[in-house]
């Protein structure tokens, strides 16, 4: 199963998903979230949901010099923090900007498709889907 963005047109930009993801990291703010919501150039144009889309052959893992990012069955990666040297190559490699950065620890933050945020999206923008069912 992986996190899937069903329809960004339904997104109201409440950022409840971001707060949820950060909460899992024991952060009451937004800094530790692995999902990011911003307007598409002004709120009148709606919102962009930036989150890992679980690539089958993840470019971020390919550029990691220490193999700290291990491709996950079903797409996406698992981050092995102890191996990560904080070089930031993965962030460069992700062209949708879904590798976020923990400034304090100098380590990446990437969605692990746990599905917690889905429970807090009140408008059906996010869902957990089987890999084959995902096009988003």
């Amino acid at each position: 199963m992986r996190l899937s963005v069903i329809d960004t047109e339904l997104c109201v930009g409440c950022q409840s998903c971001m707060f949820a993801c950060a909460r899992l990291q024991k952060d009451g703010g937004l800094a530790s979230s692995s999902i990011h919501i911003r307007s598409a150039g002004g709120m009148e144009h709606g919102f962009v949901v930036v989150v890992c889309r679980a690539c089958q052959d993840p470019p971020c893992a390919k550029v990691c010099p220490t193999n700290a990012l291990i491709p996950r069955t079903g797409g996406g990666v698992r981050l092995h923090l102890e191996d990560c040297i904080g070089c930031g190559y993965c962030r460069e490699a992700c062209i949708i900007g879904a590798v976020f950065w923990n400034q304090e620890e100098n380590k990446p933050m990437i969605c692990n498709h746990c599905g917690y945020c889905v429970k807090y999206c009140p408008h059906g923008v996010l869902d957990m889907r089987k890999e084959e069912a995902c096009k988003g």
Binding site: V12, G13, C14, Q15, S16, F19, A22, R23, K26, D27, G28, G29, L30, A31, S32, H36, I37, R38, S39, G41, G42, M43, E44, G46, Q103, E104, Y120, P122, H123
Partner: protein, 587 residues
Amino acid sequence: MNDKRMPENVLYIDLSKKSFKIEKRPQLFRENLGGIGVAMKLLLEECPQGIDPFDPQNPIVFAVGPLTCLFPLASKTVAVFKSPHTGNLGESHAGGRSAVSIRMAGYGAIVIKGASNIPVYLAIHGDKVYFRDASTLWGMGSNFTVGRVIREHERGAGLRTIMRIGRAGENLVSYACVTTESYRHFGRLGLGAVFGSKKLKALVVSGKSSIQLENSGEYRKLYDEIYREAVESEVMKKYHDLGTSSNILPLNELGALPNENLRTARSIHAGEISGERFAEDFLGRRLACSHCPVGCIHIAALREPYEDEPYFYKTSMISYDYEPIYAIGNMLGSYNPAGILKLMDRIEALGLDVMSTGVVLAWATEAMEEGLISKKETTGLNLKWGYYQDYIQATEYITSQPNEFYRVLAKGVGNASEKYGGEDYALAYGGNEMPGYHTGPAAHIGFAVGTRHSHLDNAGYSIDQKHLGEKLLSPEELGENLLKEERWRQILCSLVLCLFARGIYTPERTTRALLAAGADRMDEKALMELGKKIHSEKYKFKIKEGYMGETAGIPQRVLQTPSPWGKLDEEYIRKTISYIHSASLNQ
């Protein structure tokens, strides 16, 4: 206790010296929570008594609260200042991304003093404050464009607030607003003009601090309880589906919807501007403030042809709500949604408070009909019920003030009627134009004595509706009811919660949320006491600054036009006001 979860930092900015400092004031937040509690203390510290609102020393205080970021619907920021519109206490609230951004930048409150010599905008990124030259933005035709330029120029997309003023604020229209995130406003009492007087065009705040959660299991349980209630409650569904404009039909049905400057309180045409009608014909998008799962903000898509070009169209995205529809729809005797939206778009571009603007135009329309003013004063405009072309031009003139008449209009309906007559139908309380509820005595008493002269101070409109058909409450009973509500709301506005969530944040639940947020233990009684104290501080500030209290004026029109409670009895209103006045001073 000095909990990492409680806000404690106050950012002080001096626009004259272009300097800033950050002070840790944990005590201030522990004792007063945040929001209006803290903001009022800072105002008392910073605002010299009797000061002119445009004096550089007039402080602008923004404050958020201990629940900001930590719980859903703690989505608002409180601003206080001395109001150029009423010459008295200025307090205005807004949502958007403002509250979350201020807290994420690391602050509980921001105090802005002094005045810049050149137009500037402030960029606050975490603990860095930049004074940026805003000469290019000054005088720009549309507030939307100002937002776009800053958006493209500053970092922090998704994690920032961009507050800005339009030309109305630059030109010191006393009811100019501050707009945030294009569609939310510190709307009332003229914060925009105070920005303008300081040559402060805008304020960007962003940040990425984290709030460490201890005992996160307990906290998450309470979070879920509040979140579930928010997404499952009926009220919240109503505000998501249709928004506040869902109130048009029920209020009209009741005979409480002000029509043509409150000549009547009902119209057979109300269906044409109902929330249902706006949704069916225009709704283009819904938006939410940060950390609000409801999403009550409704944006209309208005498609208009260019007059001289065949097959050329523009689509404008314009927000609508109950109060704007009241002020520039039914109050202007108009039931034409496209006209309302076009005027709204213009008012947004200029950065005027839509509520005051609508009531001012309604007065002017009636004054013109009565012959108190003519085309000589209006410079040729024909202000007539529902004539939007002329209303749109009038808002431009209120902003640019080409003659004496518009200079006076730019100071509100009280000033205008003082000069030109028509006091009986100048609908303002304490100098602030009235909100859209003619529900009965409680609403109007609430406007008169509420510290913001707003329906949100004490919800008199709800008392009127709840007791309709029953015997009139005694002045003391009604006074107590209104006071109790206004005092409790000081707590909600210290946290700072969206008032739509007042049913969710019961006193009992609020005590638990505060504890989970790292505040000192406070039981319900202690919270009530604090609410009472904050209210009294505000009331006393107002009296000191010249608010008439007991003898505050009530527009004659309000007494003449029947409400759902029939014609209102002045004697009864006076007695109730007098009760509240004494009780507020003697606490």
